[in-house]
């Protein structure tokens, strides 16, 4: 792989990691507060649909984003209702939410647009475009010089190549996702809210008897989870793609969950895990079969690699992943 190709692969890694990262941080907030969430996938899907639908109807991607977030937060609220208020099984609730999203998106899409469960393609202001950084080479330069971007980039120095291709040119949500990592770290470890959030995932009774509302904290965590999943879904439909197609999350919610376990519920590690999984996807997308030193790795192995790695982690071969202690358990005071 030459240098330019490598940049290209990393560039696509960043794009593909973004939804994973947003969903992974979403899961991090929820699970750190003791609410397991296997419904990341469903929330993303719902958000993807509503963001695309509203963006295509109104022509404004920002309204689409809001709609996506709202839809995801409704599902998050449902998960909260089931697992916090009614102290139900969080895993079952997550499964239900995934199905609900898979079904409802197509049902509503069909009802609204009659295009076989998709939204119309988004054009112009209905999509997030790339942010062109100052001094970076982009389509504008190509138009000005009349030469293709690839040629322009190939002709410049490596640092400028990295800047133009890898750093610049992504949609704003990509930068949001990566900025969310330090923000998450800061909130979790440097604020009162973070301390309480982490405590409620470890021992809700301690939080309760300290005079802080367990229910309130957990709903807050679940709401943040909904917000981030909403952005993730909106990114899929309005930035990575141009419109909603059925099941477009394609297991990303589960990969995000895998990344979360991989990262052992820590924000920076979550970013690295998501980048790794994004990288695997980028490779698998580009190359059907990868030749590593004479051994041909079929694309199916690349597709399955995130899942296999997660199992290996869970098996404890790469260190044990210990989830928040109160995770998955409803907080029950009176039997």
């Amino acid at each position: 792989m030459d240098f330019l190709t490598l940049i290209q692969v990393f560039d696509s890694t960043v794009r593909l990691s973004t939804p994973l990262l947003l969903a992974c941080l979403a899961g991090l907030f929820s699970e750190r507060a003791g609410i397991f969430d296997i419904g990341l996938e469903g929330k993303m899907l719902m958000a993807a649909f509503f963001s695309a639908a509203i963006a295509s109807v109104t022509g404004s991607v920002w309204l689409g984003l809001l709609a996506g977030i709202a839809a995801s937060m409704v599902l998050a609220g449902l998960h909260g209702l089931a697992s916090i208020t009614f102290r139900g099984n969080q895993l079952i609730s997550g499964v239900a939410i995934n199905f609900l999203a898979a079904g409802m998106t197509v049902l509503i899409a069909q009802d609204w647009f009659r295009q076989g469960g998709r939204t119309p393609s988004l054009i112009g202001g209905g999509r997030f475009g790339g942010l062109e950084f100052p001094g970076a080479i982009g389509p504008a330069d190509a138009e000005a010089t009349g030469r293709p971007v690839s040629e322009l980039i190939a002709g410049t120095n490596p640092l400028h190549q990295v800047y133009s291709d890898l750093i610049s040119g992504h949609s704003i949500l990509v930068y949001v996702a990566f900025l969310a990592v330090p923000a998450t770290w800061w909130v979790l470890f440097r604020t009162r809210f973070g301390l309480r959030l982490r405590a409620v995932g470890e021992n809700p009774a301690a939080v309760d008897t300290s005079g802080v509302s367990v229910v309130g904290l957990r709903y807050a965590a679940v709401a943040i989870c909904g917000l981030l999943c909403g952005i993730a879904g909106a990114y899929l439909a309005t930035a990575l793609q141009a419109g909603f197609v059925k099941d477009m999350t394609a297991g990303r919610g589960f990969i995000a969950l895998a990344a979360l376990i991989f990262a052992k519920w820590r924000p920076w590690q979550a970013m690295w895990a998501c980048l790794l999984f994004g990288f695997l996807q980028a490779i698998a997308l580009r190359y059907q079969n990868i030749d590593v030193g004479g051994v041909v790795i079929p694309v199916q192995v690349m597709d399955a690699l995130p899942y296999i790695l997660t199992v290996v982690i869970l098996a404890g071969f790469v260190g044990k992943a210990i989830p928040p202690r109160a995770g998955g358990e409803p907080y029950v005071k009176e039997r």
Binding site: S93, L100, Y307
Partner: protein, 364 residues
């Protein structure tokens, strides 16, 4: 005293949950501008109005009995096996290998051979998550989800690169030879003078599934192993005290669960498609969750719930065919059933418990 009489727990709560799910589904249908009554009528006539409809309803129900039992057995040992889908896929591989590469003289032998390998493959696919749960404490829900994805990658590879016949474009195995053809209900019922639709895929696997229900019932409530599974499911420390090995029970329960899920393949792969295609399971592994929840993990409940979901599935297919309601409606209904009977169980239970408590106090 219990907070509620047993019948309320076993019958009333699922019933109310079901009614809630149905009411919400009706609202959904209304919201997309269709008539729920007409939709139900269409579903009933499409799924139950002809032997053709029944044939499909029972065909789907057969799938769901296997996967529902799989989830139920694991539930009894307090494990949530979301991996039925992957286990059933692998079961399909087992069936395909048996049917394609062994020259069976008669379908009965083929059925035995195929069921065995399907169960073995399904169980093997459950074994790793089970082992990780038992020995390493890795959460079985996460590992089985991961194994679903890995299973579909495996199947994909096998179908695309290994088992696809020369020159064929679709990723599917060759058609199974004639001797392994399983008799359909049409063929089974014709000798006794019942004219069952020839086109419907319900086949002799239905009887195997019903037998599996009975066997699982015996296993859970009449054998020592079942006793140990239930005891372990209720209390792990209790199991330790009684000398019931958690590792052993976890493994055995998951192997049985995976085996049952794998056996679904005799219905959809051997009985219906007669070749292995991608995504042959069509989400039946997940529906097993709803079926087990609805059926309160009891084989008889699973049997009834499987038929209900078979009806929903076939009825939903009919809806998709004759109206503009997409097939996804059944996914929504399935989600609502899981939501109400599983996650929101307490929403129904808590007021009911209060009601029964006050009734009792009133009487006392």
């Amino acid at each position: 005293m219990d907070k509620m009489p047993k019948w309320a727990d076993v019958v009333l709560i699922p019933l109310i949950s079901l009614i809630l799910a149905a009411a919400l589904s009706a609202l959904v249908i209304l919201a997309i501008g269709e008539d729920p009554v007409a939709a139900v009528r269409l579903m009933v006539s499409g799924a139950l109005g002809s032997t053709y409809g029944w044939g499909y309803t029972l065909y789907y129900a057969t799938n769901f009995m296997f996967t529902g039992l799989a989830v139920a057995v694991a539930f009894h040992a307090r494990m949530f096996n979301i991996g039925g889908e992957g286990q059933a896929m692998l079961g399909g591989l087992g069936v395909a290998l048996m049917c394609l590469y062994v020259p069976w003289p008669h379908w009965t032998l083929a059925l035995i051979g195929a069921s065995t390998l399907a169960a073995l493959f399904g169980a093997a696919w459950a074994a790793i998550p089970a082992w990780l749960q038992a020995k390493r404490g890795s959460h079985i829900v996460i590992t089985t989800i991961m194994f679903n994805f890995i299973a579909s990658a495996v199947l994909n590879y096998v179908l695309v690169n290994l088992m696809r016949p020369q020159g064929s474009m679709d990723p599917a195995t060759a058609r199974f030879p004639e001797p392994v053809h399983l008799p359909t209900l049409h063929e089974l019922l014709a000798p006794i003078g019942i004219n069952f639709s020839k086109a419907a895929p319900a086949n002799v696997s239905l009887l195997v599934a019903v037998a599996a229900c009975v066997l699982v019932w015996l296993l859970i409530w009449r054998t020592r192993l079942g006793y140990e599974i239930r005891a372990y499911g209720h209390s792990e420390t209790g199991a330790l005290y009684a000398g019931i090995s958690p590792v052993r029970i976890t493994m055995i329960a998951m192997l049985i669960s995976g085996g049952l899920a794998g056996m679904m393949a005799i219905n959809n792969v051997m009985g219906e498609a007669e070749r292995l295609v991608l995504n042959a399971t069509e989400g039946a592994g997940f529906i097993g969750i709803a079926v087990a929840l609805m059926g309160r993990s009891h084989p008889f409940g699973v049997f009834l719930a499987a038929i209900l979901f078979g009806f929903l599935y076939q009825g939903g297919a009919e809806l998709a065919l004759w109206t503009s309601i997409p097939r996804e409606l059944i996914v929504v209904i399935q989600a609502l059933v899981i939501l109400f009977t599983g996650a929101l169980d307490n929403m129904v239970r808590m007021p009911l418990e209060k009601l029964f408590l006050s009734l009792r106090k009133g009487r006392a």
